[in-house]
Subunit: 147 residues, 4 copies
Amino acid sequence: MATRPVPASRAAYATFRPVPTRWMDGDVYGHVNNVVHYAMFDTAVNGWLMDRGLLDPRTSAGIGLVVETGCRYTGEIVFPDRVDVGVKVTHIGRSSVRYDLGLFRNDDDRTSAEGFFVHVYVDARTRRPVPLSQEMRDTLDTLRAPD
Amino acid sequence: MATRPVPASRAAYATFRPVPTRWMDGDVYGHVNNVVHYAMFDTAVNGWLMDRGLLDPRTSAGIGLVVETGCRYTGEIVFPDRVDVGVKVTHIGRSSVRYDLGLFRNDDDRTSAEGFFVHVYVDARTRRPVPLSQEMRDTLDTLRAPD
Amino acid sequence: MATRPVPASRAAYATFRPVPTRWMDGDVYGHVNNVVHYAMFDTAVNGWLMDRGLLDPRTSAGIGLVVETGCRYTGEIVFPDRVDVGVKVTHIGRSSVRYDLGLFRNDDDRTSAEGFFVHVYVDARTRRPVPLSQEMRDTLDTLRAPD
Amino acid sequence: MATRPVPASRAAYATFRPVPTRWMDGDVYGHVNNVVHYAMFDTAVNGWLMDRGLLDPRTSAGIGLVVETGCRYTGEIVFPDRVDVGVKVTHIGRSSVRYDLGLFRNDDDRTSAEGFFVHVYVDARTRRPVPLSQEMRDTLDTLRAPD
């Protein structure tokens, strides 16, 4: 394995969403299974969009389909840890948005995992890409990484 | 605990659906978590309905909402077990259907868990109960317990 | 369907644990899938036990295996709802404990679902039932239903 | 978005594991949620290791911890699709193994998603990296990509 980058601190993220662990997140090894980290990413991104009125999955004309995700795991998370999911936007394209995410256990200031998540916006019916609205772009801009 | 009933055999069920375990189904105790059993029930019932053309969740005017479920656990299931979900219909009401289900590990002839699952059919838009169609009733009748 | 009992209020439960919904809890019908309710029950019971030092799943000599669960669903839960899981103990046997649970959406005072959950304590190694300790019984007694 | 690579065919993978979809894998958009793809990867890799006697999660002295995963999504998967998970080994290090994976819907010969999965072997107790055994390396070599 190559040398690992230093885990990011909370200061690197623009907003946070608490996603407590669940008992069944744990696997045979007694820690939160690697799959669950993506459920936390998904929840933080879509939760933020819904809280800001940018997404209503039952009615929105445009919906964000996930086209790529990834995660590097640097520490264990264990039930009943609370996880704060740090979120920032690192790229806004014509129809796409890339989020970078970090998972913080309890009061840790260093990530236990870091990942990314790319949405492409499509028409809910035809599933063809649609451009992001200006309102969407402006709101996403508020999630840029802090300086 | 009271005396336990004898686990049912495969002969008690009308049809079966294989639902292999997944790695993440396992919990800290090294066995399939109690929640997963319900995901197997859900998959067997809805899968059977879809295979027979009785349900298309994206387009059906009537959809089955779950109003009650239950499960008794009598043995462990462990990844990578294959599970065969036994299904039978035990009650057909005006708008509702009750299924009894049994989970069989690999080639076992006795259940590791037994449960039930009650659907009430509602209008997909208004979520008000609707009567079962005659076609639905007739097809559900084929899932009655074998004699 | 028979007449439904009135959903319980928060006053009927002894303690609460917040379990926020996750994006992937939603199913094709746009609401939290019936299986997820059990993940919330499981989390509330085991989380309470761990918070009180009654369970460490990696080291405890006695562990609680789930022998029976059930749930009645009376209302929809939708992401990003927060759910408060109400918990009370309704039976303490020689080796077993029964919990009754209620799921409250956001600030609702009436349940959207009610269920139960029965643990039997077993030796972690042999998986044979073991009696509950007096400390365990005393602490569980604090979860009896409020008068 | 940059030009997309052509989805891989089955011929690019060394072995396959069927992982049928489950009802609850579907999300609000009516397709299998992006998180579930990782549960399929996890199941295929660990299932293969267990089938070959290379892993017993309850007893093995060395266990594979996941240090990095990723996935690109190119097509929808919908319940009740069967998914065949194609697996190949693309790197074997001193303590680590990288698997590339592809998800094939039903009888499709082109992937609906492609990903990777990196295990680092550690001592189950200390969680410090341990070298792969020669038996392990030899067996993993049989999962190299077909020519």
